[in-house]
Assembly symmetry: C2
Homo-oligomer: 207 residues x 2
């Protein structure tokens, strides 16, 4: 009974899914309870019935987002075949699999980061913890150049990832398609790796 069926969900679940998409697209404040109710084909009152308030709905949607997000990233390794696969192909397959839900997840993440809530901060902090420990591990393994700033590097690496997320609406307008589109996304990832590893300068100019 608690199990939401994707095909014919009840009012509560439809509210959460619709609100998730609307919040991701327009931001929490720009979406009215009437918008959500109409898009979910339920009445306004149902929101307060199930969630107490619009903020209550937000909490439920936040949880839904976390679940969606973890579903997506946990799914990194495909079922049967494993070590034999080419990493690039794995990424390709992953992108293929999440072509539908990933853009909304990213857009919601973006909104959460930009509204300066405590919750957004906790997302930022978690990501920071992850990147920073990765950098520290690299450092311990001697993989980091000695003159690299240990304080800023994690943030700069985050900016490269989060910038892709935050400024994607502008990428869409400049390049005509999302940076999360298959080919672009892959190119960006390679460009990111190259930049981190070797910088952008040619050998003779660098230094």
């Amino acid at each position: 009974m608690v199990q939401g069926r994707r095909d014919n969900p009840d009012g509560r679940e439809r509210l959460v899914r619709t609100a998730f998409a609307l919040f991701a697209e327009k931001g929490f404040d720009s979406v009215t309870v009437r918008d959500i109710a109409a898009a979910s084909s339920v009445s306004v009152g149902l929101i307060n019935h199930h969630f107490g308030s619009k903020d209550g709905l937000r909490e439920a949607v936040d949880e839904f987002f976390i679940a969606q997000f973890e579903d997506a990233i946990t799914d990194a390794a495909p079922q049967g075949l494993s070590a034999t696969q080419d990493p690039a192909e794995l990424i390709d397959a992953w992108i293929e699999r999440h072509a539908e839900d990933w853009p909304t997840i990213v857009a919601y993440f973006r909104r959460a980061l930009l509204e300066e809530s405590d919750w957004g901060f906790s997302l930022f902090q978690r990501f920071y913890g992850f990147v920073q420990s990765t950098v520290m591990r690299m450092d311990a393994a001697g993989q980091l150049a000695p003159d690299v700033d240990r304080l800023w590097l994690p943030f700069l690496m985050m900016y490269l990832e989060l910038g892709t997320m935050v400024f994607d609406p502008y990428i869409k307008r400049v390049l005509g398609r999302s940076g999360y589109d298959r080919e672009l996304w892959q190119r960006r990832h390679r460009a990111y790796m190259t930049l981190i590893r070797r910088g952008a300068s040619s050998r003779r100019a660098g230094g």
Copy 2:
């Protein structure tokens, strides 16, 4: 008469300056005309008297921001002494000079970028044009490594700059002070230059 005096400005100018600060701090939608009027010690009606609407005020504030911004960055080269100066000292002096107004300018820029208005897009686009042409010049001069992605590099460079701007509220909470604070700002700039030039990997690990 049109000249606004900083010491005792009239209602119109006080409205613009106050709204500038408030929009930068909270964002356009989160500031009410009553907030602005109260903080400016004028009545609500005066906003519509001078600017026609809240959106009219926004346009005036946008212009004010552009002027402030250009004032600040045009001021890069100090008056008398020039070529003899150490670049680091120049930057130091600049930061010193704009310690008061720069944070608000940055915060307003940030808001403008994050509200997905056409105006915000034009700011993004202008910045992109600048960075892209810089990259193209570097490329023409043979300063760019051959395997660097020419499409993404300008965006990644922008993300490093804009990320500093957009995520500064979180930097404040993680590090306890703004990334635009003198010493941090300088370190960040050096870390940025190092990353672009050589990447982060040590020689033996890189490649």
